[in-house]
Symmetry: C2
Subunit: 203 residues, 2 copies
């Protein structure tokens, strides 16, 4: 068995970096599993074995299962925030910009290992609240963009919240079928989703 963890060794040998990197690898790998089978259908032992570790070793990097789920969510929202920081490249209108963002979101979910997790209800109340607030923050940002687009005439009228829920739903659902329909090319999905999203809201 190839031990995933071996790959991560950094050079001058910084213990903290090493540890942090392995920890990240643990979270990421667990995230994959959570997405594929669901949080409760995957055990810590399985997660450990996938990485070539024993359960006890896993707990050296992580203090409990829920923490892992929590950090998975954080990783995803960090990545989305990063995309949202991108400024509109030039004179494009809001619709164009929104479409570009959306395509980046799709790419994030298909190409990187990052996934939009669902099992929010399995989180502690505190963590759940935190994760939801981050999601809301992103949602609000996009809603604001839609409203702008409605002002500058590039996006058609209608409840901005519903408009956003619709296409963000399509995005969220991606993870549910993406794994199992291999014959679709990532970039094709991104392009197509970008177009269908745009057509759905263009003025």
């Amino acid at each position: 068995m190839v031990k995933l963890m071996d790959a991560i060794v950094k050079e001058p040998f910084d213990r903290e970096k090493q540890f942090a990197a392995k920890r990240r690898a643990v979270i990421a790998s667990a995230g994959q599993a959570f997405r594929r089978k669901g949080y409760h259908n995957i055990s810590m032992v399985e997660i450990a074995k996938t990485l070539g570790l024993s359960k006890a070793a896993l707990y050296y990097y992580v203090s409990n299962k829920e923490e892992v789920l929590f950090e998975c969510h954080l990783m995803t929202y960090d990545a989305m925030d990063a995309i949202l920081k991108t400024k509109p490249s030039s004179v494009t209108n809001t619709l164009d910009y929104l479409q570009a963002l959306y395509i980046d979101f799709v790419r994030l979910l298909t190409q990187s290992g990052v996934s939009l997790l669902t099992d929010v209800d399995s989180l502690t109340d505190d963590n759940k609240a935190f994760v939801i607030s981050r999601r809301n923050k992103i949602e609000r940002k996009i809603i604001r963009l839609v409203k702008e687009g409605q002002k500058d005439g590039s996006i058609r009228a209608g409840d901005a919240r519903l408009i956003v829920f619709f296409f963000m739903g399509a995005l969220n659902w991606l993870n549910a079928w993406y794994d199992t329909s291999g014959r679709l090319v990532d970039e094709d999905i991104a392009r197509h989703f970008g177009e269908q999203m745009r057509a759905g809201i263009a003025a």
Copy 2:
């Protein structure tokens, strides 16, 4: 506490009907709970208490938890099949028909207690396969419709499968946020989703 089960008494007194009705009530109530908190975050005891029963009584109607989840899925797909049986009312083109179907789907999810369940991975392999095959059947039917629409010129070109995944995703995701955003009116959601779906695929 109001015992939900009391409401269901039928008249001439048919034992089988009575039993079947209560059983359905159990499944439906459990389905609500599954949707709200997730299959694994709700115990059989909780489901029982919601109905004013003890766990043991619950097991009089149902042989195990997984069976309940399975039947929830079946109920949903039955309802969707029923909608899909609706023939296009008159001379409308395929796009109009598809939009009408879609609006009915949204209504199904917002107005009735029926919900699109996610925890497919918590099912037995057999049941999982069965449920997925039913979902695929529905998906294929809709894909076929899209292709028809592309032929008759009402729907724009593009990979029919991706087109369907997109708007069905928006639909699936409804359940995730619907509960918690009460200020939206059901019929508004249906109308809006219908429009955005149509605009996204119209030729």
